[in-house]
Every structure is written in structure tokens, then in C-alpha cells.
Subunit: 308 residues, 2 copies
């Protein structure tokens, strides 16, 4: 069964790792959000692409979920000495990725080519494709004005009240080479347990991706359990937008494309409400405590997809 | 006595440190070559400015003479894993300087403003001014063609045979703010024991600097001892250009501006030849083994200047 997973950062990366350890690697494609990308110190930083790659390669920091294991912080701590900004933590090993990516972008290579080469260097055997090689930037609209995503997410710790989102550049963006082909040739599309607003929506908003996805079975894993997101601001965003955060909210969010949704057994009472939307349901333990937890959830999701 | 020193990398930085420890700090200005500057991984690298600043701040690596003490190499070693270039060794702490400089250049600050701020952060109490805020790039003309300076110096280990030098951008370059004023108000100008071809010549070639220097007492310290340069390709360059490397060659190199020259006692036999050029001479131990050696040489040079 050929699978294409749409992923954002930590949650998406962990689930992608579960798939990576469960199905033949050549049957897996991970399409990653680039709306979080930004330029920092003149370097091109792609946080979600890196989190997915580090996690698939086993290089990730298991405590934080982002960045690299065995990291040192000598560059950023010396930037601080010079009076520079240290709100975005760039580890020394992680910096290598941004340095080399920037060098290659400056030579004219595309983000998807660079990502493919990096995956090869890191011995990642499935396909990891950024959603687009075009410049798309997520802007979070808040009660304090429009904030570039990393300003909102990292610098301001998601504190400002959200009123909406804007994906600058999305209308002229094109899916990266391979994205539409992989979606079309997949037996199922999985929306990883990533933030629907700022991880999955940007991917689905790249012109051409949603129509391609709609032709396939699409299954989402709810990142909301008992009204809370395990990580990140998804639940807070739903609330601030006047929506009660739940697996039902996730189902509603993606109802226009969903065949089925997997959510936590603790929320089993939501089954009838979701099924009323014409969406199949499956409940299980969706908490990925460790890498065996990631693989367990991947197996459950694949089992559900097989039953649809 | 107010001193302005013109300096390149390691030798210039060590002598500048000697001056820094010898005269009142407010009486010292160091004007630094920027012809070695280059862009690497999209970052603005100013090797000579950094070597001078690190050395004045006591942050330098005393073994190599360049880069920082207690350095780690996690970024560049991971760049190598990704197949990127590792010929230019960028330490993690050193990277902070390039990151923050690049960030500020992108915001519109000039190299001289940034250098002033970095000196403040590093508690350097004399003035360190890059020769120009304009873009000047030293190109080494060789039997293998024209090579950007760092390609020649670091990547090719100075192996290609030199036929000449070109300072791209020099004709439209302007002295950085303060350069001409400091030169004009100084009691003496010291050409540090740096490479004449690629460290001192670029500074003197910035339009306006040489005429300003000529109005003052100018003393050079020969970087050549017994036909050899203690560090770097100066002697090799003289040979390849058909000139016997010696303190006499240095005196000839700068005869159009020199009031006096300090060179090693081992070359005392050259005194009459140099004095024939109308240039005053002083010999002493010019080897700066450690920081007390730097201060000792500075005292000797200042003593000589006082006698001129």
C-alpha cells in the first residue's frame, strides 16, 4: 500500500517516523509544510522539513522534538554576546543544515532538490518533498497585528490571540516536482497529527494539491485529545477562532476531503457526531510516547485505512 | 603619541595587540584590510577584521593565530556530512560573528558600524576600523588564472604561482568613516608585519588613504626574516614575482611612503642598503613568540618612532 503523508513539525515528524518503520520505505512519501520557513541571519531555515528529516534519520532531539540530538549552542550564545537575537534557538549542528541549504539555494538549486540530496546524505530511504519550491510564508493574524509565523510561534510563544491566517505567496505557488505524482499514485493520503491551521492547511492550499488529494482515500489523525493539543497551539487557535477544540473540530476542518479520521480512545464519545458527517472513525491510543508508540499508531492507522 | 596601525591578519593582529598593551588605548587606531572578505554559505566573512578583534579581545586561538580559542566545529563537520565545502574552517563560536554581521548588513548597517559595535561587545577599547565599507575583493593572479583570495589562500594553500594582484572594486571604494581623520591626527602610521601584497597594499590602495598616510611619519615592520615569512605566503610571492624576499624588499615595496623600517637583528647587514633609500632603520628581535613578545616589539618600534 503506497502512502503519502502530509506533515508539519514535531507531531507530523513522529507519525512519519512510525510509518517509516512500518511500511516498505519506497512506498512512503512525506510532503512537508514550508509555510514556517523563514530567513534568519541571512540563512534559509525550513523548520518543518528539518524536523521531519532529523526524525526520520534518527538525528532528532528526543526531548524537545525539534533540533538535533547531542546539540551544542556555541554559535547562538556568542550571537547573544554580540547583542544579536537569540529567540530562535539555532544549534551548531542544526546550523550546518541552514548553511548548506543557503549555499545551494544561492547556486540555484531548488528546496526540493536540496532536500532530496540531504535525505541521501542522512540515509533516509523514503521520499521527503517540501510542498513547494515557491516562496510561501505563513502569517498569523492576531489581535496585535499580522505576525510572521516564527515571530508568533517562537518569539511570542503563541501568546497573541489569533484571528486568522494568511499564506503569503500561495496563489502563485506550484507543488514541488513529484508532489502531485506521488499523491495521485498513492493508495491513501494521511494528514499527520500536525496543526491543521498552520501545518496541513498550507500544504492543501498550494494550487493543485487539494484536487489531487480529493481523488484518494484521505485519513486524518486528530492532534487534539480531550480538548488539548499534546504540543503546540492547535487547541488554543481553535478556541480563539470560536471553535471547541476536539476530534470533531478536526473532522469538520477537513470534512471536504476526509474519508476517515483516527482519534484517541479517550474521545470515543465523539464517534456518532463525526460519523454523521459521513466520515469513518477509528479510535485507539494516539499518544506517541516513544518511537515504538509512533510505529504502533502507524500500524493502527494503516489497519483502519485497509478497512475503509 | 597617537598611533594608527594598518593591519592584515595574524601578524598584524599580534603587533596590534602589542601596541594595545603598550600605549593608552584611546591613542590607538587599527585600520584593517577587507580585501580578504568573502561570502561563504551566504554569510559575510571578514577574516582580517575578525582576527584583529579576536586578538585584541583575547579571544583568539593562540595556536593557529586565527579563529577563536576553545572552539568547536560541529557546524562545519555537519556541512561536510551533507556534501558541502569544508575547506574554509568555520568554528561554531566564530560563526556567531558572521551570522550577526550578516544580519546587520542585511538591515543596512555598514561594516565599520558593525565592527565598532562588536568591539564594544568584546570590550575592545581602541578603535578598529575596516579600511572601507565599500566592497573590495582581492584577486590573486596566478599561472592557473585569477583566483579569489580565499580560494588561493585557504583552498589552494597558496600553491599556484603568483603573477600579480587585483583589488576589485578599489577604484570606487571610499575610506570608511574615521579612517582619514585618524590617519591625519596620528603622530605616526605603522605598517604592521602583515603581507605587503595582500594585506597592506589593499589598504593603501583605497583612494585617499595613501595621500593621507604620506603626510605623516610612516614606519614599517618587516614580516620577512632571513628571507622567510614567519607565517603566510609573503616570501613566496616576492620570489614568484622575481624579487628576493628580504627587509630590503619590504623597504623598496613601501619606499614611496616610508620614514623608517624595523627589521630583525638577524638581517642587520641590510641596514646600509636600506638607508641608501633614505629610509631610517632599526633592528631588534621581531619574532612575537607570545603576548609579551608582541608588547616588547611594540615598545621597540615606538622607541624607534620617537627617535625619528
Amino acid at each position: 500500500m503506497k502512502i503519502t503523508a502530509l506533515a508539519g513539525g514535531v507531531g507530523g515528524a513522529k507519525f512519519a517516523q512510525g510509518l517509516y518503520r512500518t511500511i516498505p520505505k519506497e512506498d512512503l512519501t512525506v510532503i512537508v509544510n514550508t509555510g514556517d520557513d523563514f530567513e534568519h541571519f541571512g540563512l534559509a531555515v525550513s523548520p518543518d522539513v528539518d524536523t521531519v528529516c532529523y526524525t526520520l534519520a534518527g538525528l532528532e532531539n528526543p526531548e524537545s522534538g525539534w533540533g538535533r540530538a547531542d546539540e551544542t549552542w556555541n554559535a547562538i550564545s556568542n550571537v547573544k554576546v554580540l547583542g544579536g537575537p537569540s529567540w530562535f534557538q539555532l544549534g551548531d549542528r542544526d546550523l550546518a543544515t541552514h548553511l548548506e541549504r543557503t549555499r545551494r539555494l544561492n547556486l540555484g538549486y531548488s528546496l526540493s532538490e536540496i532536500t532530496r540530496d540531504f535525505c541521501k546524505a542522512w540515509r533516509i530511504d523514503c521520499r521527503v518533498i517540501p510542498m513547494t519550491d515557491s516562496r510561501v510564508r505563513t502569517t498569523v493574524l492576531t489581535d496585535e497585528g499580522a505576525l510572521p509565523f516564527q515571530e508568533y510561534f517562537v518569539r511570542r510563544h503563541c501568546e497573541p490571540r489569533v484571528t486568522g491566517f494568511r499564506f503569503d505567496g500561495i496563489h502563485t505557488a506550484e507543488p514541488a516536482p513529484g508532489v502531485l505524482e506521488e499523491i495521485s499514485s498513492s493508495d491513501a493520503i494521511i494528514l499527520c497529527p500536525s496543526n491543521p491551521w498552520v501545518s496541513i492547511d498550507p500544504i492543501l492550499s498550494v494550487p493543485g494539491i487539494q484536487p489531487a488529494v480529493q481523488n484518494s482515500r484521505v485519513v486524518s489523525i486528530s492532534p487534539i485529545i480531550q480538548g488539548r493539543a499534546l504540543k503546540g497551539p492547535a487547541a488554543k487557535m481553535y478556541k480563539e477562532l470560536g471553535i471547541e477544540p476536539s476530534a470533531l473540530a478536526i473532522a469538520n476542518h477537513f470534512r471536504y476531503i476526509l474519508t476517515g479520521i483516527v482519534f484517541d480512545s479517550q474521545d470515543a464519545h465523539l464517534k456518532p457526531h463525526i460519523e454523521k458527517l459521513g466520515i469513518g472513525t477509528f479510535t485507539c491510543n494516539t499518544i506517541m510516547e516513544d518511537s515504538s508508540g509512533c510505529a504502533r499508531l502507524a500500524r493502527d492507522v494503516l489497519h483502519f485505512i485497509g478497512s475503509l
